[in-house]
């Protein structure tokens, strides 16, 4: 008989602590904030140039709502059409099955070198370490992703993976890994070096893997957007193309591409369109084309009425760029594949305990909801996740106690006035040392207001209460 092993608690992501570490370097925080704010401003200008911008957002949101309400039918239709087009369609329930499917295809072709364009899904699935453990070389070819791959980090942003890295640091990294001259930090010359370095990988790869931006049910094809051309360079040279996609990437028909593409790049980077919007419908002659449809929690999320709208997301990153928290805490502070506001409403659905703090890594300012091209009510979802965190018993004991007391006080006006008076008196009488104690987090960096002698209601009762409606008084 075996004794039960002690339970090892999984780490809970502590956003506040990570954010405090980030903010401690103020100059760097300002730099990070300014980079992202600049992207937000570009997005504003691009959106302004489209007179029907708000109508497009509305339409995009409705198309997604429609699609989600028939997702099973559209998935089946896509499979049928894609298969008829000569595409091999696979289904993966979870990350592990996705990785196995990809590996099996690669193994069948004896692939040793895989080039990969940006795919947040494969980050979510942990594909790179899985394949590397099987002896396959994986090279991320998006410049930003290559930078973080060489640095041994994960992306800190879904559209701009290396937004947290400074050019001098990239220079040092490239010097060490790909032999650029020491001290070289010019973005143009570093990009040129990466071009040469990655071209060799494109030309020697045996297979290419891409993400998918949109898959069209009606035609059985899919669309991949890049600026660099890295996805295309990979897949058009290799004998095997694998495209991995979450099941929510389906749209009903090609006419919907116009709606989403007009929103996507403008929201993401402020460009009118990505440089390459590639439409794949049939394999190249002599090539195998595979699509892996991945669930990994998405069908479960679809069942959560309060939260299913998050599946409308087209991964533009606009909510991340606009988020005043993200801009000042960096993507890694979220401890999840997808950071920022959208990450904070997606990840609690994956593991509520581990990500319990993310819905609180927000002031509920609402900028994310207003910027989102598919109109996901992100602040509303953050608010509702907060309630669930409490209902599932994850709120700390001291917080629960404080809130229980508050609930009592606010229900009872006499208690409320007594507590208020006491509080104000304490503030006036206590020595500064006590009020600004280290444990008084409010007061460490902020002065408290001078406590008044009389509350407004006390003043009103003393001076004006004959005019007042007495209803509710001293109930």
């Amino acid at each position: 008989m075996s004794t039960p092993l002690p339970e090892i608690p999984l780490p809970v992501i502590d956003h506040a602590a990570a954010a405090a570490r980030f903010v401690a370097d103020e100059a760097r925080t300002n730099w990070h904030d300014a980079s992202l704010w600049q992207v937000r401003q570009k997005r504003d200008r691009a959106a302004q140039a489209v007179p029907e911008w708000e109508a497009l957002r509305d339409l995009a949101s409705k198309i997604k709502a429609h699609t989600l309400s028939r997702l099973d039918e559209y998935l089946a239709q896509f499979e049928e059409q894609a298969t008829a087009n000569g595409i091999q369609v696979h289904w993966a329930k979870d990350a592990a099955e996705h990785n196995q499917i990809v590996h099996a295809i690669l193994a069948r072709h004896g692939v040793q070198r895989l080039v990969k364009s940006k795919s947040m899904l494969t980050e979510e699935c942990g594909l790179n370490p899985y394949l590397e453990a099987q002896g396959i070389e994986v090279v991320d070819t998006d410049l930003g992703e290559r930078i973080v791959q060489l640095a041994g980090e994960g992306p800190s942003h879904i559209v701009m993976p290396a937004i947290h890295v400074k050019k001098e640091e990239i220079g040092a990294l490239f010097h060490e890994k790909i032999g650029t001259p020491a001290g070289e930090a010019d973005p143009g010359r570093l990009t040129e070096a990466a071009r040469q370095h990655l071209r060799a990988h494109f030309l020697s790869a045996d297979a290419a893997l891409t993400g998918v931006n949109f898959a069209i049910a009606e035609t059985g094809g899919f669309v991949v957007c890049t600026n660099e051309g890295n996805a295309d360079l990979g897949v058009h040279l290799t004998p095997v193309h694998i495209a991995s996609m979450g099941i929510e990437k389906i749209i009903p028909a090609a006419e919907h591409l116009g709606v989403f593409l007009r929103l996507l790049a403008r929201s993401a980077t402020g460009q009118d369109l990505t440089v390459y919007t590639s439409h794949f419908h049939r394999p190249r002659q002599g090539q195998e084309l595979h699509v892996v449809l991945v669930d990994n929690g998405r069908s479960a999320h679809l069942g959560r009425a309060d939260f299913r709208d998050a599946l409308k997301c087209i991964r533009c990153g606009a909510c991340i760029n606009t988020c005043p928290i993200y801009r000042r805490s960096g993507g890694h502070s979220y401890g999840s594949t997808v950071p920022g506001p959208i990450g904070s409403i997606l990840t609690p659905g994956i593991d509520l305990k581990k990500y319990q703090h993310l819905p609180f890594a927000s002031t509920l300012c609402g900028s994310c909801g207003d910027v989102c091209p598919v109109k996901i009510d992100i602040p509303g979802q953050l608010y509702r996740w907060r309630q669930l965190v409490t209902e599932e018993g994850h709120a700390g004991r001291s917080k629960r106690r404080v809130m229980a007391v508050a609930g009592q006080i606010f229900r009872n006006p006499r208690l409320f006035r007594w507590a208020g008076k006491l509080g104000r008196r304490l503030l006036r009488w206590l020595p500064q040392r006590a009020v600004y104690h280290q444990r008084n987090v409010w007061g460490r960096a902020r002065d408290l207001p001078e406590p008044p002698r009389q509350s407004f209601l006390e003043w009103y009762a003393a001076h004006r209460s004959d005019n007042a409606n007495k209803k509710g008084h001293d109930q």
Partner: protein
Amino acid sequence: MSSRDAILQAVRQNRPDPVPRPPTPLFASPDEGLTTAFVEAQKRAGGTVVSTTADAIATLLDARFPDARVIASTAGDIVAGSMDLHAVADPHELADLDLLVCRGVVGVAENGAIWIPKAHLGHRAALFIAQHLAIVLDANALVWNLHDAYARIDVAEDSFGVFVAGPSKTADIEQSLVIGAHGPRSLTVFLLTE
């Protein structure tokens, strides 16, 4: 149960009540200014538009790319090219391609994008591996927005098709825009005005 069936069943169980499919309008297009808007959009995207006639293009290309040695053209009636794309069996052979000249089908004024199906490429890789790209487009193939463009093309007609909007680029190093990431370092659009 297969993963396929398990996923589809879970989706069916969890999907919300039916939501109607909204119609997709084309949205209003201005009556004129298409060409100006297209030229502006290409400029924003880092491309160059040259309004010209078909017979002037070869000379313009010589002047613009004096050092180009390996030139492929799928617009043989306009530019001859130095190699025959159809004779290339393996796209890796295109590694030293200096310039590709091809025809575009539809140009989109709002964003400068040009639709190019596989049939106009010879090899799909040619468009991405070439150091420079030149596209020949009829001025009367311009439309205002993407809705209009999708109404005119059949995305599934060819095995592959791409909207190209400018030369390849990146801003992954500190948001500094660099033209010439992995694909062509320049895009020249010859807009045929007659």
